[in-house]
């Protein structure tokens, strides 16, 4: 009979694969949700119900943060940097290594947790090397989940306090990702007084931002872009010929007709 820990480990790996391979950030959030919920279950003995609830609520909160930041506009990552097939092959290989190579004897947790941990760590390496904030953040979260699975396998089930700390860490990481990929309020989108007065309390995050530039013709000289499949969206936009608009968030700089980056049903930003 298949143990629940094995099912949870496999589910965590599947969630990780989905999170780092798909392009739609909403699917990324769903993949992360699966990985975050399943990872604490891949331990033996299973953690307390309260700890599982806490981890699940934390996973929902983290996913919601990512979902919310992707809801108001189209945020897409490049998907897998090396191709979904290559990702899948690497994950399978790492899972097999983790299943058959046991560096700790006796193993304090299930071997499935070790295999899943190694697979997720291997899976996170390519996104961490990318240049897209969403993918880097996703990779960091997957990496942390993988290390926590290794800890469960090698050291034993985490205590309640460690579960709480890990939950807060994952929520913080995904929250940081959602914050960093969010579009930034532009200076022109809010009322700007003609000049500050003595004693005013204006928010001045954009102190150094110049006025929005006048419309400039698209440059004909393409910006040199690195070769290879790991191009980021910005470099592709540069290659199309239009200069990067400083008023546009990097995640919005997907030029129409860009060869690989798909624009995902743009919606009107919420007022």
């Amino acid at each position: 009979m298949i143990q629940p820990a094995v099912i949870a480990a496999v589910a965590a790996v599947i969630g990780g694969v989905v999170a780092v391979s798909v392009r739609d950030s909403r699917l990324v959030a769903l993949g992360l949700l699966l990985a975050l919920v399943a990872s604490p279950l891949a331990s033996s003995p299973e953690p307390a119900a309260l700890a599982i609830c806490f981890r699940s609520i934390g996973a929902l909160l983290a996913t919601y943060l990512l979902w919310a930041s992707a809801r108001s506009q189209s945020i897409a990552s490049e998907g897998s940097g090396v191709g979904a097939v290559a990702e899948l092959a690497a994950v399978c290989a790492a899972f097999a290594v983790g299943w058959f190579v046991v560096p700790v004897k006796p193993l304090a947790g299930p071997v499935a947790a070790q295999a899943a941990g190694i697979a997720l760590i291997a899976l996170a390496l390519v996104p961490l090397a990318g240049r897209d904030v969403l993918r880097v953040g996703t990779g960091a979260a997957v990496l942390t989940v993988g290390i926590s699975l290794l800890l469960q396998a090698w050291v034993g089930p985490a205590t309640s306090a460690q579960q709480i700390a890990m939950t807060v860490l994952l929520v913080g990481m995904v929250g940081a990702t959602s914050l960093l990929i969010s579009p930034i309020p532009l200076p022109s989108s809010r009322p700007v007084p003609a000049g500050p007065s003595a004693g005013d309390d204006v928010e001045s995050d954009s102190d150094d931002l110049p006025a929005p530039p006048a419309a400039t013709p698209a440059r004909t000289v393409s910006k040199p872009t690195p070769a290879g499949p790991l191009h980021d969206a910005e470099s592709r936009v540069g290659a199309v010929g239009a200069p990067p608009d400083p008023q546009v968030s990097p995640n919005q700089r997907f030029a129409p007709g860009s060869p690989r980056v798909r624009r995902l049903h743009p919606r009107d930003p919420r007022q």
Binding site: L151, V155, A158, M173, T177, P193, P196, S197, P250
Partner: protein, 626 residues
């Protein structure tokens, strides 16, 4: 109780501060109140402080109380400077969130919780990096996300070394090497050490100009406390690979100290100079990590206290200077010292607090760290770091003594009078917003003086209102009218005609300025002065801390609970037996010895350590590594 109060103050202040950001002043006020409450709570954290959360105990110590108080106090100083210079209110919630994580990290007796909490504190840095840059290629957000991921992975993974699983291979040595390497990389990346310095230096343009205080000072200092306390008791083993990694950390530390100071010497932007200065001094934390000695823990803790306060003061100083003159370019800041001598005094005090003087606690800490961490041939690094720090600070002061540049001359800091006031009125608004802000601070005063000459108060208010803008202009106009009565009497001409003209001004405006409004006006007209005063007060506190005052020296003798937790695990050298259980080190807090003495091992055995806190990761003693 005090620890709980600190956590509540930090958590509530952070959440409410973020939620209240839309309301502007309320959000900032909540942040300031939260920081003030955190300081008060931290001052009461001592060796008897205990807090149980789930199945982990948070145990306070003298040092953790002082550290958190210094961090929260530094945050309050910087937020006051931000308030005075009209900057963002996002720093306070981010700082409070970080302090909550750091508080758990340096008080938890469970290494897994402590290291994970340290990683949690790092994630709060994203809150201050949400400003879009013009050149998006060196976008700091990508670097920050990588840093967060790396620190989290490293610290959570490093818990594995303390957890001490039963490896099947060559014992613990490879794991300890990986753990030490990971800690070194995590600290180096977070503190912006060479060669990871580029994102740190560009942070000023990618986030708030005050962001380096959080990302390069407070968070790395907290992580440093955790890592150093652990390093001193856990990594004292002899292994060829570990020696190689230690040598690499030493190289990075020396390169960071020297190259960081050199870079601060040659750069012209204040933000870059400050960032490189912080980076250079963060190299001493890496030196403490490389020392792997109990003897290095106490000076490292002392250094971290001074580092937090002094470097925060430097960030605040740079923010105040930039705000005063509307530029951060050193070439355009010629003569700054002549116009803001108080900031000059503050800079001198900050340098003294950073470098110390022979016999001071900070000087002793820096020299001890170099002596313990580096071979004899590199002991001259102390002199080199001292000279280089004096060089780039002296350059700042020297530039400030030159004849004022155009920006400095235009940004009138003190109250103008006579022709200057008229000229200030006739001068069009500066193009740069910072410049306009500095001019706007001076403008009502100039208007007041002009009103003292010939212009009626209504005209003065109208002019100021026209220049200042729409809604804000109404306020400025009212303030200018009020300032006419407040400042015109201070001038000679005003003294001559004062009894009539202020009355005319107030009479025409239809308002009667009461004492409260006058005080408010004077307070607002001297924003640069109050920012300078805050910086000066922070610098003075830094000097006192550098001398070992305010309990800094005494608190540095005590460790944090992770010291004891690390001791509870077996350390391969010297060959441990039950008879040679870890002896209490002089850096241990006395209260730690009162904790339960037997900690269960992972393998089900017990590790007999008379001074050990209960940890779940202790294991039976092992033979020597290798």
């Amino acid at each position: 109780m005090s620890l709980l109060a600190f956590l509540v103050a930090c958590g509530a202040g952070s959440v409410l501060g973020l939620a209240g950001r839309a309301s502007g002043r309320a959000g900032r006020l909540v942040g300031l109140v939260g920081l003030f409450a955190a300081i008060l709570a931290a001052l009461f954290i001592g060796s008897t402080t205990r807090l149980s959360v789930a199945d982990v105990t948070l145990a306070g110590s003298e040092y953790s109380g002082r550290f958190l108080a210094c961090a929260a106090g530094s945050g309050l100083v910087l937020c006051l400077v931000a308030l005075a210079s009209g900057r963002s209110g996002r720093l306070a919630p981010a700082a409070l969130a970080s302090f909550a994580g750091l508080a758990v990290a340096i008080t938890a007796v469970d290494p897994g919780v402590a290291l994970t909490a340290g990683a949690v504190a790092t994630t709060a840095g994203a809150l201050v990096l949400t400003r879009q840059t013009i050149d998006s290629e060196p976008d700091g957000r990508l670097a920050e996300m990588r840093t967060i991921g790396l620190v989290a992975a490293v610290f959570v993974g490093a818990a594995m070394a303390l957890a001490h699983p039963a490896w099947t291979g060559q014992g613990d040595s490879p794991v300890f090497v990986l753990g030490f390497c990971g800690l070194g990389i995590g600290l180096a990346v977070r503190s912006g050490a060479v060669p990871f310095h580029v994102p740190a230096v560009r942070m000023g343009s990618g986030g708030s100009p005050l962001a380096p205080a959080l990302l390069l000072v407070w968070i790395p200092a907290g992580l440093g406390v955790v890592a150093i306390s652990w390093s001193a008791t856990t990594f004292g083993i002899h292994s060829d690979w570990l020696e190689a990694v230690v040598a690499a950390v030493q190289v990075v530390a020396v390169a960071t100290i020297v190259l960081g100071a050199l870079a601060a010497l040659v750069h012209d932007e204040l933000e870059e100079i400050v960032a490189y200065s912080i980076v250079a001094d963060a190299g001493f934390v890496l030196l403490a990590l490389a020392a792997r000695s109990d003897a290095a823990a106490e000076p490292a803790r002392m250094w971290l206290l001074a580092f937090i306060v002094a470097k925060t003061g430097l960030v605040a100083w740079a923010a105040a200077v930039s705000h005063s003159f509307g530029t951060s370019n050193l070439g355009r800041l010629r003569g700054w010292l002549r116009r803001t001598p108080l900031l000059g005094l503050a800079l001198v005090a900050i340098v003294i607090a950073t470098l110390g003087w022979p016999g001071s606690a900070v000087f002793g800490a820096r020299s001890t760290l170099i002596r313990l961490a580096l071979p004899e041939g590199l002991q001259l690094l102390l002199v080199g770091a001292f000279v280089l720090s004096l060089a780039y600070t002296g350059r700042l002061l020297l530039v400030g003594l030159l004849s004022p540049a155009e920006d400095v001359a235009a940004a009138t800091v003190s109250a103008p009078a006579g022709d200057d006031a008229v000229a200030a009125l006739a001068t069009p608004a500066p193009t740069k917003r910072r410049g306009s802000r500095a001019a706007a601070v001076a403008l009502p005063t100039a208007t007041a003086s002009a009103a003292g000459e010939a212009v009626p108060g209504k005209v003065a208010g109208t002019v100021a209102g026209t220049v200042a803008g729409t809604d804000a202009g109404k306020v400025a106009g009212t303030l200018a009218v009020a300032s006419a009565s407040a400042t015109a009497t201070a001038t000679d001409q005003g003294a001559k005609d004062g009894p009539t003209r202020p009355q005319a001004a107030t009479g025409e405006s239809g308002t009667t300025p009461d004492l409260l409004r006058k005080l408010l006006t004077v307070w607002r007209l001297n924003r640069t002065l109050e920012a300078s005063l805050v910086v000066a007060v922070g610098a003075a506190v830094a000097v006192i801390l550098a001398s070992g005052g305010l309990g800094a020296s005494d608190a540095s003798q005590f460790g944090i609970p992770l010291d004891t937790a690390a001791r509870a695990t077996s350390t391969p050298l010297p060959p441990p037996t039950l008879a040679t259980a870890p002896t209490p080190a002089p850096t241990l807090a006395p209260h730690i010895t009162a904790l339960p003495s037997i900690s269960p091992g992972a393998g089900g055995s017990a590790n007999l350590s008379p001074s050990a806190a209960p940890v779940k990761t202790a294991v039976p003693v092992h033979g020597p590594a290798n």
